[in-house]
Amino acid sequence: MLEKKQLIIIKGTREGLTLFIDESCSFEEAVIELKDKIIASRPKRDEPLVSVKVKLGNRYLDEAQKDQIGKIIGGENRFIIHSIQSDVVRREDALRWQEDSEVKTINRIVRSGQVIEVNGDLLLVGDVNPGGKVSSTGNIYIMGSLQGIAHAGSDGDRDAFIAASYMNPSQLRIADYISRAPDYESDGVYMECGLIDETQDKIIIDRLQALPHKRKELSGFERRMQNG
């Protein structure tokens, strides 16, 4: 009789353990074997905590299943889960990512009291008047004058930025940062952008030409793919 195929393979690395779960067996089979293997290899009480990366290959786990795996590995044991990685993405997730990374073009004036919210980048061809607001999960490009509020990276992306042909906003918001216009009357600036400066820990305004140096390559989509 052939030796039974191993469903769970554990490899030690410098950072901790990597745990491979066979991608073709049933989830129940994998769970049974996982329980045994974990008990066999868990660190003793006096040993340090070990970080575990779980690799699923072409298997997709829903949140409940991830939870179950997490409980088995974490639980009473001295393991902590670093990540659970899968090579597959659900269709709806992929579509959402795509939507988040598209540029939405809107051609109108955003007047006082009006709000525009989009997923992804926003290209507004028109003005944002005082009292108007635009918000996007990605970057904001305004071909017109920004005199109201703009909020880029609205669900937390601190690398997002706001660019405008004429910039005289009442507020700029990026992720969880807010900056407001000074209390004295000020003239706006042409062709500038607002972005978070990590060292100063605040939103700064800079010439558009400075943007390529500060926000190199990555679109929101690429960042997401790399960070899983």
Binding site: I109, R111, G113, N129, P130
Partner: protein, 265 residues
Amino acid sequence: MGEAIVITSGKGGVGKTTTTANIGTALALMDKKVCLIDTDIGLRNLDVVMGLENRIIFDVVDVIQERCQLKQALIRDKRFEHLTLLPAAQTSDKDTLTTDGMKKIVAELKQEYDYIIIDCPAGIEQGFQNAIAGADRAIVVTTPEKSSVRDADRIIGLLEQTEMDPPTLVINRIRNHMMKNGDMLEVDEITQVLSIDLIGIVIDDDAVIKATNNGEPVAVHPNSKASIAYRNIARRILGETVPLQSLEEEKGMFQRVKRLFGMRS
């Protein structure tokens, strides 16, 4: 078939009622059949500005609640045969006016009149919705102050969501010396932010207040600056191209000559 124009502003006290009375009167001066409607229920003013207060028997709410015929509620102007006013109710419950009721009244008046000018209450609530319900287009009134322009912008945003033609703008109560000193927003600044067409500018003119107190719109006076401004707006409504009034005090021979030839700078 006539045209219904609503005069609105968002902010209160910027000159909607004054503008309604004067545009209506100026159109009547040019032999148009005009009906003014006051939709500011509970705070009616238009009748006072027109000097018709004493003649009110029925009002717009009476018409809606069918206590009288539309024709019975219309008050004929003292000066012009074909100028009438449908007054607002002073006491009734505001909620009796509805968008459907307004649409019906305006539609009926359009059969009879060339222009229906509707005076809108301040604000953006039901009263505003009622006032714009039957209108074909809107004139937005603002003064050269930030808060007023901000509210005008809000109103324009709301008007753009309706099927009406794009609204046009009146800038009222301009004080030339303040504009020059930069203490007031400039005409260009305002039109740039609001980006709608300007249909007229009216200076802050004592003659307006004097006339109002006498119960006659300033537009009946031949010479005051505000009167000319309102008559110019009326001409633009009729489709004429009239250059904007100069804000400068008129002086010198050349200006007077131009005036003789009927040109205005």
